[in-house]
């Protein structure tokens, strides 16, 4: 047949045009790369094994609780967590008593008194996590003009999720010789542009753990990331457990339906 090879011919043509067009573009990119003496791309993210990975993953309760401790003692000085209530902490295994005590350790606005004056009261489990700053302007003023992002869904809001958060927390280095740092900025291997407005928040022994685990930077970072992942996905365990049951049921249903289909159609075989 005359046009038997229409498609391969067209494809070849397209490939040729693409190659011809791409050559100058590639050359341009090389030049651009050559011009820049600084590194332009962050190294690829470390891939850690998390307790919450995979379809059967759950949150390591002890790790998440240590992570909350870090949030409470370190991160909450700058980062809000507006979507969470203190009562939610039961999700990482804290008892009602512990939650009441944690909530009561902060003062929150308590409406007005009988003179119409605003008053404060100790927090309750039904209160939202207290934010460190009353508004964005105050947060920026205290942080060199940068805004510490709310941490409620931070794990979902960054490409790479938990691995990225871990990388940021452990990615602080001395700036390479010759790199001009903006005032107040720190060098971080994984932050886009390498200059981050957050001073290194965690070092070895930044906190004291009560359960005998050694608070190395690596351990602290893993713990707080476990906590942040839980905070962004408090439904995760229920979701995966429901999912396993739903999938099992659907596999069964698919089998039965397919068998029925075979039976019904079998009378069409002549």
């Amino acid at each position: 047949m005359r046009f038997k090879y229409v498609a391969p011919a067209l494809l070849l043509g397209a490939a040729l045009v693409t190659a011809l067009g791409a050559a100058p573009a590639a050359a341009q990119q090389d030049v651009a790369k050559f011009k820049q003496s600084q590194p332009t791309e962050a190294p690829s993210l470390p891939k850690l094994a998390w307790s919450f990975d995979g379809p059967f993953g759950t949150f390591d309760r002890a790790s998440a609780q240590r992570g909350f401790l870090i949030y409470q003692q370190v991160c909450s000085a700058c980062h809000s967590m507006d979507q969470l209530y203190y009562r939610n902490l039961s999700g990482i295994g804290l008892s009602e008593e512990q939650i009441k005590a944690i909530a009561a350790s902060v003062q929150v606005p308590g409406g007005v008194n009988d003179q119409g004056q605003p008053i404060e009261r100790p927090g309750l489990p039904s209160d939202h996590f207290k934010a460190p700053f009353p508004n964005e302007e105050a947060a920026r003023a205290a942080n060199n003009g940068a805004l510490p992002p709310d941490q409620s869904v931070l794990e979902l809001a960054r490409e790479g999720g938990p691995n990225y958060l871990y990388a940021i927390l452990t990615g602080y280095r001395d700036p390479p010789a010759g790199l001009k740092m903006q005032p107040g900025m720190s060098y971080n291997l994984y932050f886009p542009g390498f200059q981050i407005a957050m001073p290194q928040p965690l070092q070895d022994d930044s906190v004291q753990y009560t359960d005998g685990v050694k608070p190395t930077l690596d351990q602290e970072a893993k713990d707080v990331v476990t906590f942040l992942t839980w905070a962004a996905n408090p439904e995760m365990e229920e979701r995966k457990q429901t999912g396993v049951r739903v999938v099992l049921f659907l596999v069964f249903l698919t089998g039965v339906t397919y068998a029925t289909k075979r039976r019904i159609w079998s009378d069409l075989h002549h």
Partner: protein, 422 residues
């Protein structure tokens, strides 16, 4: 015609209703006894799947709407409220969010099925055009739904897409202001998008109804693309295709469930978990995956108005496809050349999808232009000419002939396999 209907139903209640309003007879005729070609492959499941998906979207959407707040200050938080505080809210929200992606997967496969087997050709032109209307409405609905959570991508996606209309000469900027209900994407925009996002799915239901009416007048196409010649070629829709569609629905639900329960943010952009901020443009504004090929066409044209016209043109061309394809043979099985260019079209569309996800730099610009060019060449040049030049393979006499020869009632699982070697 006025008068009671003479119903055949035995059950007295059913009979009583049917006599006064013969909906049971209608269902019996259109969905039970309805004569259907006996040789469908599993690609014929996707219409039923789209119907199921539409119902899932409406059901989950109605429950979302009970807890969602369409206000720029509260929308983002109300989604988190649904995720955290509403009973099963995470399930409803993730099902709706991933349901949109599933819907496009299903409808794109449904559409390409039509392209492969020539389902758009006479006498099914109107049926096909109604399908294109549904696709357009789905796109509008999904675009406006994506704005509702009021994340960074919601806001900036809405800004970029509505701004496209500013390319229209003279009236463009006024149209954009009119769409926004102000001088930027803001609360007024969110409110109207919410209203329309609630309305359009029901318009889709209406168009689907007409789509099905048209289908039941012409009857279904089939993998051989030849007309039904005798009752021997058909089987009643029930139980044969109700059960076969059920198999498809089970598999579809399995895929859907895997997404919702184990990887609910697979298709989601992390940026949409950052609340909308009009003062901070994200590093990259990327639409949802199902718009990427069109976004790539838009960016492949150096001129803004040209790009917008090509983007809309890429769908408009589907409306006139029944008249662009000049071949009288429907199924690609019997069109050796069309079969090849069909796959080229698939490659071009997939390539455009990849291009849409990357910055318009270097090689991606070139691939984008080549694929865009091919997309339009395919419909506007190749199909009209091909129908005249191509020598189709001999068509089977009837549907039942090759079916009997094949030994089984249907070439199940192995769709799109050529019956004869060229």
């Amino acid at each position: 015609m006025v008068g009671l209907y003479k119903s055949d139903f035995k059950n007295p209640v059913v009979n009583w209703i049917d006599t006064r309003m013969p909906v049971f007879t209608l269902m019996q005729k259109e969905y039970a006894a309805f004569p259907t070609p006996k040789n469908f492959n599993y690609f014929w499941n996707f219409g039923a799947l789209a119907m199921v998906n539409l119902m899932i979207m409406i059901a989950t959407g109605v429950f979302l709407a009970m807890n969602y707040t369409p206000n720029v200050a509260m929308a983002f938080n109300s989604i988190e409220h649904i995720m955290r505080d509403v009973n099963w809210g995470w399930l409803i929200r993730y099902a709706h969010m991933n349901g949109a992606s599933m819907f496009f997967i299903v409808v794109y496969i449904h559409t390409f099925r039509g392209l492969y087997y020539g389902s758009y050709k006479a006498p099914r032109e109107l049926l096909w055009m109604l399908g294109v209307v549904i696709l357009l409405l789905m796109m509008a609905t999904a675009f406006m739904g994506y704005v509702l959570p009021w994340g960074q991508m919601s806001y900036w996606g809405a800004t970029v897409i509505t701004n496209l209309f500013s390319a229209i000469p003279l009236v463009g900027p006024s149209i954009v202001t009119w769409l926004w209900g102000g001088f930027s994407v803001d609360n007024a925009t969110l409110n109207r998008f919410y209203s329309l996002h609630y309305l359009l799915p029901f318009v889709i239901v209406g168009v689907v109804f007409f789509h099905v009416i048209a289908l039941h007048i012409t009857g279904s196409n089939n993998p051989l693309g030849i007309d039904v010649k005798s009752p021997q070629d058909t089987i009643p829709f029930h139980p044969y295709y109700t059960i076969k569609d059920s198999v498809g629905i089970c598999v579809y639900l399995l895929v859907f469930a895997a997404l919702v329960f184990f990887s609910p943010n697979f298709f989601a952009s992390p940026d949409n978990y950052i609340p909308a901020n009009p003062l901070q443009t994200p590093a990259e504004i990327v639409p949802e995956w199902y718009f990427l090929p069109f976004y790539a066409i838009l960016r492949s044209v150096p001129n803004k108005l040209g790009g917008v016209m090509m983007m809309f043109g890429s769908i408009m061309v589907l409306f006139v496809l029944p008249w662009l394809d000049t071949s009288p043979v429907r199924s690609a099985r019997f069109r050796p050349i069309y079969r090849q260019v069909f796959w080229l079209l698939v490659i071009a569309v997939l390539a455009l999808g990849a291009v849409g996800a990357h910055r318009p730099q270097g090689i991606w610009v070139v691939i984008g232009r080549v694929a865009t060019l091919y997309y339009f060449l395919h419909f506007l040049v190749i199909l009209p000419i091909l129908g005249k030049l191509e020598r189709p393979l001999p068509l089977p006499e009837s549907i039942s002939r090759p079916v009997i020869r094949g030994g089984g009632p249907m070439p199940g699982g192995a769709p799109a396999k050529p019956m004869e070697k060229p």
